[in-house]
Every structure is written in C-alpha cells, then in structure tokens.
Symmetry: C2
Subunit: 424 residues, 2 copies
C-alpha cells in the first residue's frame, strides 16, 4: 500500500475510534496510537469503582476493534511531541529504555481527551482519586470496599463514623451516579456485616453550584436530588471544597467553613484537557483556554494547518463568528467529531462541524434516571430503561454487552451485590 496517505490518529477514545472506523473504506494507511491497549467506555467507569462491573467489561482491546480493518496499525505508546514542519509524531521511549519510534504523517488527528483537574491542588489527588481512568476507578473500588471492612473492626466510634462517611466532589452525571451507587452499596451490604450498621453510612455529594446536574433543566435537577436523598445520599449544594487532607475535606458553605471527617473521597469535579492540546498550541504559537483546551477552526483543523485535526474534549471549536461553540465534554460530541473528520479526510474537503444534540442522560441508582431529550424531559423508571438501552447499545463488543446485561440483571434482582472483591 505504498504511496497511500499516512494518517496518524492519537487517542483511542470515542473520537479516535469513530475517526478510524470512518476511514475503513478509504485508501489510507492509518496508525492509531494510544498509551493503553484498550478503548475505555468511560461513561461506565464509575460502575467499576463501585464494583458493579469489572474492568474488562467496559474496556475492549483496540486491536480487537480493528482486527478486520486492514488499513489500521495499532501502536501502544505515549506521544512525546509533534514536529508540524517535518510532519512527524515522536513517540516516548519504551519502558525498557529503548528509543521510541518516530511516525511520519500526511494527515494527523489528535484526540487526547481530558483528565480530572484538582483546581491547581494536585496534592489533593492522593486523598481523592478520580474516575476517568481505569486505574483510578480500580483504586477507588478497593478504597470504598475496604472502608466497610475497616469500619467492621474499628472499636472507636468517631473513627468508625469517618470510615462510614463518603464524600463525592462534583455533582455532574458521574458524581451523581457515583453517590447514588455508594448509598445503594451501603444499604445492600447491611446484612454482610455483624459489628457495624452500614445503613448509617453518610454519602455527601459536594457541589459548588446551587443544584446537582447543572447541565439539565432545574426540574430534573430537583428530581435527581430527591432520588438521591431517597437512596440515602445527601446533596450539599453551594458548597466549595477549600482543602483536602488525610481523613478530611474542608468545604465552605454560605460563608462558613465546615470540616468533614472521612476516609473516602471521590473526585468527580472539573476536568482539564490532555497535555497534547498544549503541545499543539505551542507548536503554532497559540494559547490554550482556561481548561487547557486547544482552539481549533470550525472545521476542526489546527489554524494554519489544514492537515492537522484536533477533536474531542481537549479542543474548543470556533463558531466562525469570532466566538466558540459551547459543547459539553461528552462522548456523543467526540463521536460526531470523529465521523466529521473521517469524512473530511476521505473527501479532501474542509467543512464546519455542527453538533447534533440528541439529549442528556444520568442515572441515579437502581431503576432511577433523568433524561433531557431535545427538551423532552423524562424521569424515573422510563428514563432509566432509556439510559440502560443507550449504554448497552454503545458498549463495544457483543460479549461485553451480554456480560454487562447479565451483571445489571443480577444487581437489579439482588439489589446491587456485584463484583465486590478487594484486589490491587
């Protein structure tokens, strides 16, 4: 296939995946680079943290995804940098010290995604793991489950109370879903323990805004808050985290400072773009925005570089009128952008990207959810079924869909007793 255009795609998330598969019938030579060997279905990562699902059910090896697509080569490596003049992607050295490859390209697409940001307080990360990576989710799972074990053998009342206090920071969909599931676990395991009443566990959902799920209409936020309370989780709105240390979270609410004694803190607040966004910005002498995102042209290309694309939640897209498009950092945006870029590469034309919003979903524990679909608002069981079907549908791989369906059915019937094994 010599002489074909070489397309290098960085990132095997939702955007990268759609882009690569959108090029399956295009005569190009694709190299897909990711630091992991798998695509992660991030919207369900929090279920790994609660033990409802196991890691491999929401992750699928990239090689398997593109097994039959012969124009793709998958490379598991970190990207060290870009040389836009020479049109090269430099890969980082291998773990054993051998020098990394250099990949020449005719077209480059970067979809590096984003990570949770601790608002400049990176030292909080050690006390409050995040939920965006598989490692973070697995680490949290072990912490949450160990907290109940520790409470069971803790003779001191105050310390037991701290073991049974769970703080989730950030009431977006992930934070809401997480808080709901922790509350459900605490209730579900009550008969597994002898010395401690896990039903007395407190789950606090700390949110700086004045309501949970700010991306949803206020009516649905209120419904979600009520559902959370029914499950035993307490939304703490208008509350800003001012400090996190070993065994405690300090929040400011209505001007007053409060200390919450806790051993388990989940971070589901602000995100920051992948450092690759900054790399590309520097390469063209541009600046990133406050969230570390790269500003791209309306057609998703890098200013001055029609052969370089940026997509997903590491970019912000100009609207062509001097402003930028307001797009949420969710999978559907990245997927539509991936398909858009694939078409641009295949057809050689550059067209502005337009997001088609199909709606917004969040689930709150077993059998409850809220949905906002083109202004049409759903809540309760029907919304939950919608959530279920949508998530099963987009999960990659028939085997994973079947396994997740089996697990969900079981946890529905048995009220949430899932994969609660503590291991590293």
């Amino acid at each position: 296939m010599a002489g074909e255009r070489r397309v290098v795609v960085v990132g095997g998330g939702f955007g990268g995946l759609e882009l690569v598969s959108g090029l399956r019938r295009t005569p190009v030579e694709i190299t897909l680079v990711d630091r992991n060997n798998f695509h992660l279905f991030q919207p369900l990562a929090y279920q790994v943290a609660t033990g409802a699902l196991s890691a491999v059910e929401i992750a699928v090896p990239l090689r398997r995804v593109f097994r039959r697509q012969r124009n793709v080569r998958v490379v598991m490596a970190e990207v060290a940098g870009f040389d836009l003049d020479q049109r090269l992607v430099r890969l980082a050295d291998l773990p054993n010290g051998e020098p990394g490859e250099t990949l020449p390209y005719d077209v480059l697409a970067v979809a590096g995604g984003s990570a949770y940001s601790y608002f400049g307080h990176d030292e909080w990360a050690q006390y409050a793991p995040e939920l965006k990576t598989l490692e973070g989710a697995l680490h949290l799972r072990s912490q949450i489950l160990s907290a109940f074990e520790a409470a069971e053998v803790e003779p001191d009342e105050a310390r037991r109370r701290a073991w049974l206090t769970f703080v989730v920071v950030g009431a977006g969909p992930t934070g809401v879903e997480m808080a709901g599931q922790i509350a459900e676990i605490a209730h579900a395991v009550r008969r597994d323990f002898r010395s401690v009443d896990t039903d007395t566990a407190r789950v606090l959902l700390v949110e700086a805004a004045d309501r949970v799920l700010t991306a949803f209409p206020p009516r649905l936020s209120a419904k979600a808050a009520r559902s959370l309370e029914k499950l035993g989780a307490t939304p703490m709105v208008d509350a800003t985290v001012v400090d996190i240390g070993p065994g405690r979270v300090e929040v400011r609410r209505n001007g007053e400072r409060e200390t919450i004694e806790t051993r388990t803190i989940v971070w589901a607040a602000g995100v920051t773009a992948s450092p690759l966004a900054g790399e590309l910005a520097r390469a063209i002498g541009a600046e990133v925005d406050r969230a570390g995102r790269l500003v791209v042209e309306p057609d998703l290309t890098l200013p001055g570089h029609p052969e370089v694309f940026g997509l997903g939640d590491m970019v912000v897209v100009q609207d062509g009128k001097g402003g930028v498009q307001q797009l949420p950092g969710v999978a559907p945006v990245a997927m539509q952008q991936g398909r858009h870029v694939a078409k641009e590469i295949a057809q050689g034309e550059r067209k502005p990207f337009r997001y088609r919003d199909k709606g917004n979903l969040a689930t709150i524990g077993r059998s409850h959810a809220v949905a906002d679909i083109k202004g049409f608002q759903l809540s309760g069981f029907l919304a939950w079924i919608t959530w279920l079907v949508v998530h099963l549908f987009y999960l990659i791989g028939f085997q994973n869909r079947l396994l997740v369906l089996v697990r969900w059915t079981f946890s529905y019937v048995t009220r949430g007793r899932g994969a609660r094994v503590i291991h590293d």
Copy 2:
C-alpha cells in the same frame, strides 16, 4: 449467643470455607479470618493470567458467602501469631497503624494454604511471577499481553524473538494449562498484529521430571504432551532451572546448560506451606517438613492440642502407623478435611481423616483435557467436558457460574479472544 463455643477459623480457602459452612447448624460463634475479603477459586487463577476470565469471576467476597449464616463473623486481617496456652489469635496491626485485635478461642482451625516456592531463590520471583494469588495472576496477564505489544514495535530481530518466547516452569496441571493457553493466545491474536507474526511465538514448558503431569498415569502424560505440541507449546522434560535473570532462563538438560532468551517467565513449580504452619509448629516445639508443612495427628489436630486443627495443603497428616498420608495439594483434599473438622467440632469426637480420591483432571487448551478417575482414564473432548462441568459446579455463586459459562462459550466459539486488556 453468649456462652457458646468460640471457633476461630484462619483462612478462607477451600478448607476454611467447607469447615465454616459445615458448622452452619452448630451452636458456635465463628470468626473467619482471611487477609483478603474474598475466597479465590485457585484452580482457575491461571485463566485470569491469560485473560480468559476476569478477576471477580473466580473470586467471591467471603461476607457474601456467609451472608445468611448468622453464626459467622468475617474479619479481613493478617494473623500475626498464636498463643496456644492463653488460646488467643493475635491479628496484625491495621495498615493505618492501629493495633490489631486479639481473638480468644475455644477451638482454633488453621488453613493457611501454601504459596509457590522458588527453591530458595527468592530473587527469581521478580522475573518469574507465580499463579497462586490474584495479584500474581493479574501481574502475569499484564506481562503476557504487553509482550505481544512490545514485539509489534520492536525493530531488532533477536529482541523480538525474546518478546515472543514464553517460558513456563513446572508441568503440573497449572503449568500445562498455562502453556496451552499461551500457545492458543499467540495463535488467536495473529490477525490483530501487523508487523509481527505471533504464530512464531515459542512456548516452552520446563519440567525437571521425565514427563508432564507426573501425578497422572504415563499414558495420559503422553497424551497431554502431544496435545500441547499440537497447540504449539513445547514440553522440555528432564530440564532443571538453574538460574533466572533479567531476560533469560538457564536450564540444565542431559548435563548441558542452555540459555533461553525470554521476556516472560511463569512460575508454576514447587510450593511451600504458609508461614502459619511454622508458627504452629514452633508453638508446640515441633518441626515442619521440607515443604514447610505442619505435621498433624490423623484426626487433623495439633499434637497435644485437641482444640487446635490444621488442614489443607499447609499440613501433612500422620497415618497412625508412624508414617504420613500421601495427599496431593488439591482442593478436594482441603474440602474433605474442612468437612471432617466441622463434624469433629460439632460432635466433639476425634476421628482419623481418610481422603476419598475422586480423580484428577487437567485441561490443555480449548477442547482438550485428560482425566484419571479412579483408574478410569479419559482424554480429549469428553475429558474436557468433564473438566468444564466439574469446575463450573464448584465455582461459588450462581452469577459467577453464568458469567464464566458465557465467557467460555465465547472463547470456544471465537477461539479464545477474552479479556485482553492491559491494566494494573
């Protein structure tokens, strides 16, 4: 339930589990101590290492097992030592430095199991992970899968060869099963890679004895060896490992020393008893045997201590005629001993233990196995179905059985593409 006999059981393996559930109708107060919060179905741990199964499918939380058995309290902790005179079990300090509990008992049963032994070369462990713990299996999975990834990007022929060489040490059931599955993976992933032909991978099964599966009749060993070769694994019998270092295994075969260049070494050779066996032996001034095992009376009690039982593969049982019973270190022995001890505790009588051997099974890759059932020898597909049914039957939890069945069906149909995600 004050005044009831306090039974402390150490170890939630096959022996401990059977013992505790055997006491479900006995008016005793049981404390089950294990360093993990789960029971591990060890015979399938190697399938976690090959990515055929995921961790939680072969592990079940001990609390869930005994959820409805109200006379059991589960404590997740390490045992620091025993005081047989005061009848106390001392638990190790908690990870956060808080002092561990001390558990008083009227009856003590210790089933600490065993671990792989590196024949006095503990420094080999870093290069050759083992398969008995979930951590070891998960670590190996990551190593095996990463080896193919590394081979794909390795430009140097000799180094690529080393990445594609897998050495399994020890040709017992676990070693044989492991070698067979690695060979199958290498074949199954051949179309996932572009630069490298994974079918050229070498899988060497190093065994010091003159045949594989020495616990089986020679005819079945020969069948197993042929099945392995068909899958692409090479048994190297009469070969002793003399050294293991970074990137190499040294073996001596027919008096000659050979160096195998490899990046992946799996340790499935000799085992050594849990240090708890030594603790108990020291407490009564006795010695352990060469494999670190505690010698117990024919009724499984500690000499001079009819209130203390030792069981599972950390003990060796006297035959009452001055010798010891020759028992394999397998799950059925531990399970029968667990039931035996439960009866002794419930009835207050001490009776000699007799092992009822129901047979021996080992599987070799997809759809092949050997079985030796009371002298009745099976091989091929029928033995494999037997293996499958037996393992599914003994797996704890209906959900796990269903999930494992789904996975096995898929890997049978798709020729072994399972949970091949690399994560920590």
